[in-house]
């Protein structure tokens, strides 16, 4: 039977507004986001599968709460192109490119080739002044990484909110780069279902997609 008892991890949705809120006061808190970045990868690398997505992902829970219980989602099917493999992997590659560009900018600031940019870049395009959230005190590269990382976290949360409102509450999960990465790791660990012939998904009786 379904276990309806609430666990401590069912309240992790609170982490999303706290994390984004802290970034308004001091951008250096953005470094905490490395937890959300490393933990899913470590869990899947060390055999925990997609436990992070399935149980601990604060953003997934946050979108589920807003779109589900608070009924802010239109609950329409996610568009076919958005759930295609091409889009999922394409978005992962795009995400990687932008992430390494952010690391490159951090390196340039660290080597004094560029000044610290005290802004948050939304949707990889729009520079939003964010100088109030940094009072100095850290090495320039540390602050630059915080601004860059916070930009990624805020942008991806906003994209998640937009697709939550337009489609299903957790439509973001379909193309979430962390989800795609961890699933790839799990696929490598589990062996390809195509090779073993069976992913034990019960889909076979309706015409197996892996056959």
């Amino acid at each position: 039977m379904k276990n309806t008892a609430k666990h401590w991890y069912d309240y992790l949705w609170i982490v999303t507004p706290i994390y984004l809120g802290l970034g308004f006061f001091n951008i250096l808190f953005a470094w905490l986001g490395m937890i959300f970045f490393c933990l899913p990868l470590l869990i899947s690398i060390f055999g925990g599968g997609k436990l992070y997505c399935n149980r601990y992902c604060d953003r997934g829970q946050f979108l589920g709460l807003l779109g589900g219980r608070l009924r802010l989602s239109a609950n329409r099917p996610t568009p076919r192109w958005m759930r295609s493999r091409a889009f999922r992997y394409g978005f992962l590659i795009f995400f990687f490119v932008m992430f390494f560009q952010m690391l490159w900018t951090t390196y340039l600031v660290g080597s004094s080739a560029r000044n610290l940019g005290e802004f948050v870049k939304l949707f990889w395009m729009f520079k939003v002044p964010w100088h109030w959230a940094y009072g100095g005190g850290a090495a320039p590269w540390v602050a630059q990484f915080a601004f860059g990382f916070y930009s990624i976290m805020l942008t991806s949360t906003l994209i998640g909110l937009i697709v939550m409102a337009l489609f299903k509450p957790r439509s973001w999960c379909v193309f979430c780069p962390m989800g795609t990465m961890t699933q790839l790791i799990c696929r490598l660990r589990a062996g390809k279902p195509e090779e073993s012939g069976c992913a034990a998904c019960s889909g076979c009786k309706g015409g197996c997609g892996n056959a």
């Binding site: 999922r88 299903k168 699933q183 799990c186």
Partner: protein, 67 residues
């Protein structure tokens, strides 16, 4: 009495686990982080997982049709 249909998961499942949370029978689990799988014996074909699934990979199989 067994339900007339049960859920089946397509290969483009993203293993997000949304279906696991809404299943009233605990019939769904995520197999090694790769794909959701349905225990067809437990599934009552209620359709909650299909409504929840953001990847739209859940379909239904009529019992007795292909067994």
């Amino acid at each position: 009495m067994a339900s007339k249909r049960y859920a089946a998961v397509g290969r483009d499942c993203v293993a997000c686990g949304c279906c696991v949370k809404v299943c009233p029978k605990g019939a769904i689990s995520v197999w090694r982080g790769v794909i959701a799988r349905v225990d067809s014996e437990l599934c009552i074909g209620c359709g909650k997982c299909e409504r929840e699934c953001p990847a739209g990979v859940i379909t239904f199989v009529q019992r007795g049709s292909a067994e």
